[in-house]
């Protein structure tokens, strides 16, 4: 790394020469406020003008946006001084924020992002004066129709992070700047709803939005209503939730495996049963690996692609319908769990399935849409899952109930037919995890032997596309893993052209998998400078580490060895991919999903 000496207000620092002033300052302990900057971004950089610093030479000072200004251009030895707190810089930053506030609805108390809003935080940091500038506001554009994500332009500051996120992480570009000047707003084409454009509802845009302009569509009141109506309310939690929930309660990222406290909280929130989606993850592996074995041995369509990410399934239907035959027909784990709860579990407890209300706590906004698909319901149209709340919504419910998270004891999931899980399940929450879990079981199915070593390291890590080869009974099984649609596209194009060399592919909608889902706690360097300058590069690994450690600590680490799974097949389903299993646990996809349906 080439370094350079810079002068920040009289102090000389040696920093990486390739950084911008903002990044360099951050690396030596200064947190310059910003709203549009996002690590690795470029689309709309330097637009918010909140990170202005004065760069002074003997000839005087001028203001520059520190997020884009290269330190290479301001070496200390040439007399450049970076001033963060000169009157010129302080006033300029304050003015930029005050102007933004003058075109913002400022309904902060009732905002879903209250407590997580970067504009709010930055306004306080720069000392914005109340009502400094007044005037008309840009016309408001709202979308409250889409099942997963909602949009309110009256809170938007046009930083463009969401536009870039959708384009860069997912390669889609659902959002764009529309109109110009004071009339500019961010929206899908022609101000359509996310529901009426080929948006995959992954929620990555929500994660980077600095304000309340983009947020998940909350379903807390639906849960409240079900309880009030006296329904038998069952909650299940996805693996990735426990890897991040504690962040909502002041724990550092990766600090705490929140499983025990989360379960304790759910018990206190009055759910009739608290289950772990991990059980269904094991079930998914049983079904999906059997499906793979069938395809391989019976000459089915290959490669088989995983189906547990609804963001990915949306992408499939909108952009690669020709790949539908490749995709496993398995429902995603929480849908399977819902289906089992409303059949096997209901029957065992003599409950009317119509009276059971299944709530899924998911790291995901696309799951909200998934639960509403008619394909994910039983023959009478009864949905497998009734409500999906995100990790963030669960945290809100815990806070609302007055529960002090830190003081909670550790409790166990309810051991009632669906209680047990293996180490193969929690790693579903991270890219490569489903593949690793499936290989453990598929290997066993085909060879009758356990796959060893259990850890299949080639599946791990955050590379864009990972590939590996496993020899099973003399057959070289080639697998590939991608997360984020931009990465998945490469593998899908190979299939489309008939050139895919793989047998099995895992695709996750969000980069890094569910640990980085659109419903997870926000990772905002602006709001939590104490997480360190490199947090955006490391948070996914930190969360993944929690899931891998859960796997390691499990006594049983292969889905097919889960006693409750063995039991459900023995007592109810028969065997993987049996007729009943097909009916309850498998789904279908839409080949002709309209990208831009006509809207009245």
């Amino acid at each position: 790394m080439e370094t350079i000496k810079i002068n920040i207000e009289g102090h000389i620092y040696e920093v990486d020469k390739s950084l911008t002033v903002l990044e360099a300052a951050r690396s030596v302990g200064y947190n310059i406020p910003t709203l549009c900057y996002w690590k690795g971004g470029h689309n709309s950089l330097a637009s918010c003008r909140v990170c202005l610093v004065e760069i002074a030479t003997a000839r005087g000072g001028r203001l520059f946006a520190s997020c884009v200004y290269p330190v290479a251009d301001v070496p200390a030895e040439k007399g450049f001084v970076i001033k963060i707190s000169s009157p010129m810089a302080v006033e300029a930053r304050r003015a930029s924020v005050e102007l933004l506030l003058s075109n913002h609805n400022q309904d902060c108390q009732a905002c879903v992002k209250n407590g997580h809003c970067e504009l709010y935080e930055v306004a306080s940091i720069v000392g914005a004066r109340p009502g400094a500038f007044k005037g008309s506001k840009t016309e408001v554009h709202k979308d409250e129709i889409a099942p997963g994500i909602i949009r309110d332009s009256s809170k938007c500051i046009l930083c463009g992070r969401c536009i870039e996120r959708c384009k860069e992480a997912q390669g889609i570009g659902i959002l764009g700047f529309e109109k110009r000047g004071f009339n500019t707003f961010v929206s899908p084409i022609a101000d359509r709803s996310f529901a009426h454009v080929p948006c995959i509802q992954c929620g990555q845009c929500v994660n980077v939005c600095p304000t309340g302009a983009l947020s998940e569509k909350r379903e807390i009141t639906c849960v409240d209503k079900a309880k009030a109506e006296g329904k038998f309310v069952v909650v299940q939690t996805a693996p990735a939730v426990r890897a991040a929930l504690a962040e909502e309660f002041g724990y550092k990222i990766g600090e705490l495996n929140a499983t025990g406290k989360m379960v304790a909280a759910l018990h206190r929130l009055g759910f009739d049963r608290v289950f772990d989606t991990n059980f269904a993850a094991d079930l998914t592996i049983m079904e999906e690996s059997q499906e793979l074995v069938n395809r391989i041995t019976k000459g089915g369509v290959l490669p088989q692609i995983t189906s547990c990410s609804p963001g990915w399934i949306n992408y499939l239907e909108y952009y690669y319908p020709q790949c539908i035959p490749n995709v496993s027909t398995c429902k995603s784990p929480h849908e399977m769990e819902g289906a089992i709860i409303k059949s096997y579990f209901a029957k065992a407890h003599n409950l009317d399935p119509k009276n059971i209300y299944v709530v899924s706590v998911m790291p995901c906004t696309a799951k909200k849409y998934e639960a509403k698909r008619p394909q994910n319901a039983n023959a009478e149209g009864l949905p497998d899952v009734d409500a999906v709340i995100t990790t963030r919504e669960l945290a809100a419910m815990i806070k609302r109930a007055g529960i002090v998270f830190r003081e909670l004891p550790e409790e166990e999931f309810d051991q009632d037919l669906l209680g047990q899980y293996t180490g193969a399940a929690p790693i579903f929450g991270v890219t490569g995890g489903v593949m690793e879990a499936a290989l453990r079981t598929a290997y066993h199915t085909l060879t009758g032997k356990e796959f060893g070593p259990i850890d299949f390291k080639a599946c791990r890590g955050l590379d864009a596309v990972k590939e590996a080869e496993v020899e099973i009974n003399g057959l070289k099984v080639k697998v590939a893993i991608a997360s984020g649609m931009k990465n998945a596209k490469v593998l899908l194009d190979q299939i489309k052209e008939g050139k895919s060399p793989y047998h099995f592919i895992e695709i996750m909608g969000c980069p890094g998998g569910c640990i980085n889902g659109g419903g997870q706690p926000f990772v905002k360097p602006n709001l939590k400078p104490e997480e360190g300058a490199d947090i955006l590069e490391t948070y996914r690994e930190k969360r993944a580490a929690i899931l891998y450690s859960i796997d390691e600590k499990c006594a049983i680490r292969q889905s097919h060895n889960n006693p409750d799974i063995i039991k459900v097949y023995k007592d109810y389903l028969g065997e993987p991919c049996s007729e009943l299993a097909e009916e309850l646990l498998h789904t279908t996809y839409v080949a002709n999903r309209e990208k831009y349906p006509e809207v009245k």
Partner: protein, 160 residues
């Protein structure tokens, strides 16, 4: 709005024609605008499909540049120049009169679909201030009292 199939086919051809040019989006949009008088959202979706540029980005481009229109314009598009040279010669009064007579605002089209008024920024005909053009024909040194006369010229053409 339903777009006729042959228009969609034609737009696809326009896209294909320019596909080897670097970043041809605006070139394509200009050609469609020129040919059909507007670039509706439905055609933007077609262009998105052909070029791979996200639809929202195309809409963003169309709504950024004043040359593009999302809705069809009138048979006669009236440009009233509001460039500085015209403005200081009271172009605003000409525009106001034009709007009052046609009972529409700048950017709008009369109900009969005959006239669209657009306030434009400098046609570069500063010596002719206030300049008004109708479908490209420039009327020099227009004052508000000339408005009816100009409109009549086109109304009469229609009457014929």
């Amino acid at each position: 709005m339903k777009i006729r199939l042959e228009v969609i086919k034609d737009v696809r051809e326009i896209c294909q024609k320019h596909k080897d040019e670097p970043s041809p989006l605006i070139v394509i949009l200009e050609e469609v605008q020129e040919k059909y008088g507007y670039v509706p959202v439905e055609l933007q979706e077609v262009i998105s499909e052909e070029t791979g540029v996200p639809a929202a980005e195309i809409y963003g481009v169309v709504t950024f540049y004043s040359f593009f229109s999302l809705t069809p314009k009138g048979k006669y598009v009236i440009h009233v120049c509001l460039g500085t040279a015209c403005y200081v010669k009271n172009a605003q009064a000409v525009l106001d009169k034009m709007c009052a007579v046609l009972k529409i605002q700048p950017g709008q089209t009369t109900e009969d679909g005959l006239f669209t008024i657009e306030a434009v920024r400098c046609m570069g005909a500063c010596a002719l201030a206030t300049a008004v053009s109708v479908n490209g024909k420039v009327f020099p040194r227009v004052e508000s009292k000339d408005v009816e006369k100009i409109l009549d010229e086109f109304r009469n053409q229609e009457a014929k």
